[in-house]
């Protein structure tokens, strides 16, 4: 263990030192090769121009290399692999895609993903908005927000254990140690095995993600609500609007853009939801989703890279509209330069 700590410290020093040495050294090298001081005017200007051509690439170079290896090349390669067989040797055309369309588990994953997409972003945004409005009105709102925000720091695996304990099931009549079944039994209901209830188990998994992400929606929306000019709210009050009218007709329309950002961010997260399903059910009892199915095929029976890549591509296709929208928004903001 001491060796491990030592090597970790060594890596931090070597990594940071290496980065600093690269940036400083490369920068120095440009100054030496194309000196701008101590040479004649025309040559100095010439060298300055050359420096200006090279230096930006020295700065963005390492980032570009890493992005190419870890994100750009894999995207292209995954697309290629989706047309190859399990070992990645033979071209099989659209066979993997045809397999996916016909596969029962894949179809059930798509269906479940659609339910997740319909429920989780909406629930998080709605709850987040309500909590943001309510906590704004009370003196201990900041503390309340901190506590609701807290699950965002918890890992999905940790959250799964927390909720698995809530859903824990013991036979009817026994002492329930899971909070949910204890409450149900207290009111005279039948305890249930929540995570294997067909269809509804999906919702019990979704609750975990909603529990984690509502804090995110709340924080973003809360800061957007603060940006609403005080006068519009006061004018509405003077005109005799009730709190519900103020909420729906004044507040919500003004923060529509922020709601869209929160919604899409959570949508992307939902498309990639993996940890919760893996740890709670591992896709059993019809709770499979695409990201977990993809992971499963990466290793199932020694791994089928063709099918795994195909599922990844399908997740990617779902993300592309959001990606295009993001790039357009960003271009608008920077004025297109």
């Amino acid at each position: 263990m001491a060796a491990q700590i030592f090597s970790a410290i060594f890596v931090i020093i070597a990594g940071v030192g290496g980065c600093v040495a690269y940036f400083w050294g490369a920068n120095r090298l440009v100054d030496i090769i194309f000196p701008s001081r101590g040479v004649a005017g025309a040559a100095a200007i010439d060298n300055l121009r050359r420096q200006g051509l090279i230096r930006p690439w020295l700065f963005v170079g390492p980032a570009m290399i890493i992005l190419t290896i870890y994100l750009i090349y894999p995207v292209v390669e995954t697309l290629r692999l989706s047309f190859l067989d399990r070992g990645g040797a033979d071209f099989v055309g659209f066979a993997n895609y045809e397999w996916a369309l016909g596969d029962r588990e894949f179809r059930s994953s798509i269906l479940n993903n659609i339910i997740w997409l319909a429920v989780v972003p909406a629930a998080c945004t709605f709850l987040g908005l309500i909590i943001a409005v309510l906590t704004d009105k009370i003196w201990w709102g900041t503390i309340a927000k901190s506590l609701i925000f807290l699950p965002l720091a918890i890992s999905f695996v940790g959250a799964s254990v927390i909720w698995k304990f809530i859903y824990e099931y013991r036979g009817a009549g026994q002492t329930q140690i899971g909070l949910l079944n204890a409450i149900i039994q207290y009111f005279g209901g039948q305890p249930q095995v929540w995570i294997s209830l067909p269809f509804w188990n999906n919702f019990f998994l979704m609750i975990i993600l909603i529990w984690i992400q509502t804090g995110f929606a709340m924080v973003i929306l809360s800061s957007a609500l603060r940006g609403i000019p005080e006068e519009t709210l006061e004018a509405a009050v003077i005109d005799g609007a009730n709190p519900f009218q103020i909420f729906w007709k004044i507040m919500v329309p003004q923060i529509w853009g922020t709601i869209a950002v929160v919604w899409t961010t959570i949508t992307i997260l939902v498309l990639k939801v993996f940890d919760i399903v893996l740890t709670m059910t591992n896709g059993q009892w019809n709770s499979q989703v695409l990201a977990n199915l993809m992971f499963d095929w990466m290793f199932r029976g020694g791994g089928d890279f063709g099918r795994g890549a195909t599922i990844a591509i399908i997740i990617m296709i779902a993300v592309i509209p959001i990606m295009v929208w993001n790039i357009r928004q960003a271009n608008k903001e920077t004025g297109g330069h």
Binding site: A8, I12, G15, V16, G52, R55, P56, F59, V60, A63, I66, L67, Y70, I72, Y73, E77, T78, L127, I131, T135, K137, G141, A144, S146, L147, I148, L150, I154, S155, V157, G158, V161, I162, K164, I166, T175, Q176, I177, W211, T214, S223, P243, I268, K272, F274, L278, A291, M298, F305, G308, I311, A312, I315, M316, M323, N326, I327, A330, N331, H337
Partner: protein, 384 residues
């Protein structure tokens, strides 16, 4: 007027109650594992954690002495003693002789077991069993009883989990993975962000667009090619393919788009006059970056560091693909996932392990919440 004050009081009271309910729903689940991790492991399964401050009642089984211990008294055969033997006495509330009905008779009553046999078990554990026939056999009568034990809190679970279940080791592994994977991207991203914000070069707009596009590329797209690449590099150089270096670089790669995006939008917003006056004074881009931009960017660097730290610490997918699902080097999340499989019903192990995995993020989160929120607000298109 009185009506309207009453109404506003009621509605304000309603707001307090509503927020209180939300706060309860969002904190009680976490509280549950914290409390459970500190309870005695027999009590965890005997009563719900919300009852952990009350005496818990658990059903246990014991065996009376064999036939050889019987004495004959008044024409009856009698077995006497205490069910707890030399163990400390507990309070028995009820007992029974069938596993289907372990609490059939209240403590202190005499149960008629049929065939002329009776059994009396008292609250303190003393028992008298009588029979009209001599007792036979090597094994004594099996007795079930409900006993209540006072609440018991202990840190034993933490000892067990940290030192015998391997969570301590995984904790170190998580730190080993997380710290370099947080520090390395910062410098690389900061230089790139400065160039993209303040230097003019062809292709800059395209690069920015690519980075914004990469923000939302699902991690799943990268896994298979990188797994193949790592295996290829590993077998080519004859080195293991699952190494810390591999996962550091992977997390650096996956974190870079967000890092560059976040830092660029902050650095681009720094006042132009400062840069220009420095340039007129003869400062090079490198000097401007190191002496002006870096110090001014401290808040956003802190935001990103917290983000990346939490993301890497909490990540399961990248860790499972690039470090594996078992062995000495796996991180906390992967270890917890493995324990869910192997120790599925042992809640004292699971709750304690879960609490250890979330304690570091909670500390980071509470001490640096300001920077975390700022990062969230600045970069809420983050895809990961």
């Amino acid at each position: 007027m009185a009506v309207s004050t009453g109404k506003s009081f009621a509605s304000r009271f309603g707001v307090h109650i509503a927020v209180l309910i939300f706060v309860a729903i969002w904190t009680v689940p976490t509280l549950g594992i914290l409390v459970s991790s500190l309870r005695d492991k027999d009590q965890i399964i005997a009563s719900g954690w919300w009852n952990s401050f009350a005496s818990s009642t658990q059903t246990e089984a014991g065996r009376l002495p064999p036939a050889s211990a019987q004495v004959e008294k008044d024409g009856k055969f009698v077995l006497e003693g205490n069910i707890f033997g030399d163990d400390p006495a507990r309070d028995i509330s009820a007992f029974g002789v069938k596993s289907a009905a372990p609490t059939q008779y209240p403590a202190g009553t005499t149960a008629d077991l049929g065939d002329g046999e009776t059994l009396q078990l008292n609250a303190d554990g003393s028992f008298v069993m009588t029979s009209t026939q001599p007792f036979e056999g090597e094994r004594g009568q099996r007795v079930y009883y409900a006993s209540s034990a006072p609440p018991k809190f202990t840190t034993d679970n933490y000892d067990t989990v940290l030192f015998s279940e391997g969570i301590g080791r995984s904790f170190m592994n998580s730190l080993t993975v997380t710290i370099p994977a947080t520090v390395i991207p910062i410098l690389i991203a900061a230089f790139a962000a400065y160039a993209l914000a303040w230097m003019r070069f062809p292709g800059r707009a395209l690069l920015i667009a690519v980075i914004i596009g990469l923000l939302v590329v699902p991690l799943q797209m990268s896994l298979i090619p990188l797994l193949k690449l790592y295996n290829g590099v590993g077998s080519f150089f004859g080195v293991p393919s699952k190494t810390y270096l591999g996962i550091w670089l992977a997390h650096t790669g996956f974190g870079l788009p967000f890092a560059i995006y976040l830092l660029r939008s902050y650095i681009a917003g720094l006042p132009r006059e400062i840069m220009e006056s420095a340039r007129i004074d003869g400062a090079s881009d490198f000097e401007i970056f190191v002496k002006i931009v870096l110090p001014l960017s401290f808040p956003v660097l802190a935001s990103f560091a917290i983000f990346q730290f939490l993301w890497v610490w909490n990540d399961l997918l990248v860790a499972m693909v690039f470090l594996g699902t078992e062995g000495d080097q796996i991180v906390l999340t992967a270890k917890l996932n493995a324990l869910l499989g192997s120790r599925g019903g042992d809640w004292e192990i699971l709750t304690t392990s879960a609490f250890i995995t979330i304690v570091v993020p909670l500390i980071v989160f509470f001490s640096l919440q300001r920077y975390f929120v700022r990062g969230l607000l600045a970069g809420s298109v983050k895809g990961g």
